[in-house]
């Protein structure tokens, strides 16, 4: 491992910035992949159905959503106080709290904690924030192997990919692909598409690793300020393994994950698991408040929490955009998104795909790298309809579009990369459009020309006519026909 003195904690651009810039190429590639399209269609149909069954009582759902929205909004308006309280409670409990502004800061803290404790073998529970920081890559550079233990993450790690969904990381693969992956990468495993067999194989490999690991890394679903408690949601048991067996447990999470009271947890938990996979509750709900105490026989001797900003404070600074931070990472938005269903999770190029990805990535990576994301939505609103904390997603996307096309001279700097999506020609077009459309005479004259010159309407209209015939203007506008009517002439076209 490198000498810490050789390090300059220089803020590095996330690797995701480049993959986000390649959005259009990624989309073209993945739209063309029929196996991928089929995998996603099947997966989304499954998750949409599951959620629907879990929310059969409309009244309960509406009440819970409103309650949880208000809970999150309260926790956000009190955020700095709650973070201080959380830190105080956790440290009173013996859990050490660290703060990181950038992803590099976070990685560096974790790397140093591992080094200080002579960590050789690291197991990781599912943590999207650690994907955000690209922790595995960073640790690999230090010569520290960090093995993913969540089945989906394990699969994705074997495939040298990153997750394509925030809840089900390997959702883009079907079982034949997983079987092939295991056969090619696990000694002694023969190709077998039986899912139980595949899972047992994963269990076997990882069980050894849990037994040997000296460091466990996890995420956090809810961090309770009142009691200094880290809450984790999982079905597999690997989270419990990572947070119980190794001597050192490091948790990493975003600053927006703090909740005020323990009593805030049950409604949020209920909405989280039902929105995500249609489960009333996850198999395990793990609540950690201390490292191993005197007399206890197991549990980590040290527990650390890393709190990451990475653009969240930028979202926080704007009243409208702050709503983005209400997100409890359930994935319902992407499950219902017609765009995500067709392009899949990798095409976005960002850690968080789908509607939440579109809202949060511009803060994490800057609007310049993510400028194609806010417009890659038909604003259908399916996401906002299912968001458990009622984030008005289409409104926020609209707002991001506004920030994206702001003139660079605009004084109010709300976001990094503001104005990156502005194109001079487009700005001129809308200027001209508004000039015409706010002057009725000018408008009626233009439309008159449009109708009289309808024969000259081009048959090719860019992207539109690749898959559609061009619409033809009418022979007379409705304005004209109504004007004629008022003169006593009844006409139709």
């Amino acid at each position: 491992m490198n000498n810490a003195a050789q390090y300059k904690i220089k803020v590095q651009e996330s690797k995701y910035a480049n993959s986000a810039r390649a959005f259009r190429e990624n989309v073209a590639r993945d739209l063309d992949n029929s196996e991928l399209r089929e995998n996603f269609r099947g997966a989304m149909d499954y998750l949409v159905d599951k959620r629907k069954s879990a929310f059969s009582e409309r009244e309960e759902l509406d009440c819970l959503r409103q309650q949880c929205k208000l809970i999150k909004q309260r926790c956000l308006v009190k955020l700095p106080l709650l973070l201080e309280q959380l830190e105080q409670q956790l440290e009173q409990n013996g859990i050490v709290v660290h703060w990181a502004e950038s992803i590099t800061d976070a990685n560096e803290i974790i790397a140093q904690l591992i080094e200080r404790n002579n960590g050789k073998s690291v197991v990781k529970g599912k943590s999207m924030v650690s994907e955000e920081t690209a922790l595995n890559d960073y640790l690999e550079l230090q010569g520290v192997e960090c093995l993913e233990s969540d089945m989906g993450e394990y699969i994705v790690q074997l495939a040298k990919e990153h997750p394509s969904h925030i809840i089900m990381p390997a959702i883009h693969q079907n079982k034949q692909q997983v079987a092939k992956l295991f056969a090619e990468n696990i000694d002694g495993f023969d190709y077998n598409t039986d899912v139980d067999t595949l899972i047992q194989q994963g269990r076997q490999v990882l069980r050894d690793k849990f037994c040997q690991a000296d460091v466990g890394i996890s995420g956090v679903n809810f961090a309770v300020a009142e009691t200094g408690t880290l809450c984790l949601v999982e079905n597999e048991g690997n989270g419990r393994m990572c947070t119980t067996v190794p001597d050192l447990h490091i948790a990493i999470t975003g600053i927006e994950k703090v909740v005020e009271y323990l009593a805030d947890v049950p409604p949020l938990l209920s909405l989280l698991t039902r929105s995500a996979t249609g489960q009333a509750i996850s198999t395990y709900f793990n609540m950690i408040s201390h490292p191993r105490q005197d007399g206890e026989k197991d549990g980590p001797k040290q527990v650390h929490l890393v709190l990451l900003d990475n653009g969240r404070s930028q979202a926080f600074a704007d009243d409208e955009l702050r709503q983005t931070l209400q997100c409890i990472r359930c994935g319902a938005c992407m499950n219902h998104c017609p765009v995500y269903t067709r392009i899949g999770g990798h095409a976005y190029g960002t850690v968080y795909p789908g509607p939440i990805g579109k809202m949060i990535s511009p803060h994490m990576l800057g609007l310049e790298a993510t400028k194609d994301l806010p417009t890659a939505s038909s604003l259908c609103g399916a996401c906002g309809e299912v968001c458990p904390v009622k984030i008005p997603i289409p409104k926020i996307l609209l707002r991001l579009r506004q920030e994206s096309v702001k003139p660079k001279s605009d004084d109010k700097q709300v976001m990094k990369g503001q104005g990156a999506g502005r194109k001079a020609l487009e700005a001129k077009i809308w200027k001209a459009w508004s000039l015409v459309h706010k002057r009725p005479v000018l408008y009626r004259t233009s439309m008159w020309f449009l109708t009289r010159l309808r024969g000259l309407m081009p048959k090719k209209l860019g992207a539109w006519t690749k898959v559609r015939t061009a619409p033809k203007p009418a022979a007379k506008t409705l304005h004209e026909l109504m004007a004629q009517r008022s003169r006593g002439i009844r006409d139709e076209v």
Binding site: I71, D105, A263, V265, N286, H290
Partner: protein, 226 residues
């Protein structure tokens, strides 16, 4: 233990956040309304509890407290398991110790340090008590202690858990409120609602991912509930 750049990050982050909410009136926040779930009587709660657990592939066996040892013996025999790990001086240890001589009963009386291989390989089954339970979601609350460590209910592939129906609460919110959990959380609490599972491979459910492959619930009932 603290990193200097962590301290400056802390100062910067908090400063940015505080600037934004300066002057916020916390007294004027909107009222939050919880959903008023219809109250269920004990029988409804018990049914709900069992249904949820069974739907999650747990095995639920209703027994009288005196039947703990017999039930364990029979369930172990069915599975061809001849040994059991348990916690000494725990809630049900006396009942469990009746199995001494019939099976290889081992108390978890060692530190995990230096005994990991042993824990991971030598014990096909374990038994624990529980703190209480939640009907709405079919969840069992484990409140690990020095006598019943956290890994006791996690590592062995078959986990027997003894649940007292007199400690059944309708839902999680009710439980937290009734027991005032915010005043007394221990090192670790786990809500367990079934054997370990995953649907990560083509959304196909498979059991026994990393936690126990089987969860067997010995549900202690009064005469009339049996």
């Amino acid at each position: 233990m603290k990193f200097s750049h962590s301290q400056s990050a802390r100062a910067n982050i908090l400063a940015k956040l505080k600037k934004q909410v300066k002057g916020a009136d916390y007294g004027k926040l909107p009222v939050e309304t919880a959903f008023d779930y219809p109250e269920q009587d004990f029988e409804q709660q018990l049914n709900q509890f069992i249904c949820q657990l069974e739907a999650n592939h747990a095995q639920v066996i209703k027994i009288k407290p005196q039947q703990i040892a017999d039930t364990l013996a029979r369930q172990l025999k069915n599975r061809n398991i001849a040994s059991l790990l348990y916690g000494e001086s725990s809630q049900y240890s006396q009942a469990i110790e009746q199995l001494n001589g019939f099976i290889e009963l081992t108390p978890y009386d060692f530190m995990l340090d230096g005994n990991r291989e042993r824990l991971f390989n030598d014990y096909p089954a374990s038994v624990t008590g529980s703190y209480c339970a939640i009907a709405q979601t079919g969840s069992i609350v484990l409140w690990p202690t020095e006598n019943e460590p956290r890994t006791l209910s996690l590592v062995p592939p078959v986990h027997f858990v003894i649940v007292d129906t007199n400690q059944l609460y309708q839902d999680f919110a009710t439980l937290i409120g009734a027991q005032q959990w915010q005043d007394k959380l221990p090192t670790n609490v786990v809500l367990v609602s079934g054997p370990s599972k995953t649907a990560d491979i083509q959304q196909t459910l498979a059991y026994g991912a990393h936690g126990p492959k089987e969860l067997v619930v010995l549900l202690l009932c009064d005469e009339d509930t049996l």
